[in-house]
Amino acid sequence: MSEIKKFMFVNRKAPHGTIYALESLEVVLITAAFDQDVSLVFLDDGVYQLKKGQQTKGIATKNFSPAYLALEGYDIEKLYVEKESMQARGLSEEDLLVDVTVLGRAEMGELMNQQDVVLSF
């Protein structure tokens, strides 16, 4: 691998109603093998992906939320949540499974602007 690029994954969908969140997570885990500079962003309903206490037994699907806790072991430590998205949903950092950096919309836009590659889910 020649030079390190800045990769950003933008997650905007709630976790279980569609396949986007799981697909994004899988791509992120694969990308981790390429030693790039990876950032994960959670915007809009995407913040629901990180909600604590998900129990999918009743809908008979895989509960993939514990995998967000494994990201640290994959050296993916840059997780950002947009403050406005969190507030609109009545959520605070204590409701989330993992440690995140909370950014306001303008800071989020600035961070997005600094990326080489942005993948949206």
Binding site: R12, K13, A14, P15, H16, G17, T18, D44, D45, Y48, K51, K52, G53, Q54, Q55, T56, K57, G58, I59, T61, N63, S65, A88, R89, G90, L91
Partner: protein
């Protein structure tokens, strides 16, 4: 009539449209629409308003899957799959707002 919604109120206007039009009957929130039944969501006021003219239900297993079992808005009634079936039979007809 039973109205079934399955989209999050903050990314899709299905629930908004439903509430704009519907004057009475039962509303059942399933899949990503269960977020509408959680307290603290900006949509909460519209649910309170809707409960003045409709009965609002939420599918419990979908709420559990999303980690919101303990955040149901007061007055919204949780139902299991059996309750879902009951709602479809006690109502004359039903509409899924896709």
């Amino acid at each position: 009539m039973l109205h079934i919604i399955n989209k999050s109120p903050l990314t899709n206007c299905a629930l908004d449209s439903c509430l704009r039009v519907v004057q009475s009957g039962d509303i059942l929130l399933i899949e990503d629409a269960v977020y509408a039944a959680t307290s603290g969501n900006v949509f909460e006021d519209k649910i309170h308003e809707a409960m003045g003219r409709c009965k609002v239900y939420v599918l419990q297993p979908d709420l559990d899957a999303r980690g919101f079992s303990d955040r149901i808005i007061d007055g919204v009634s949780p139902v299991d799959y059996g309750g879902f079936v009951d709602l479809t039979t006690t109502n004359k007809n039903c509409q899924s707002w896709l």
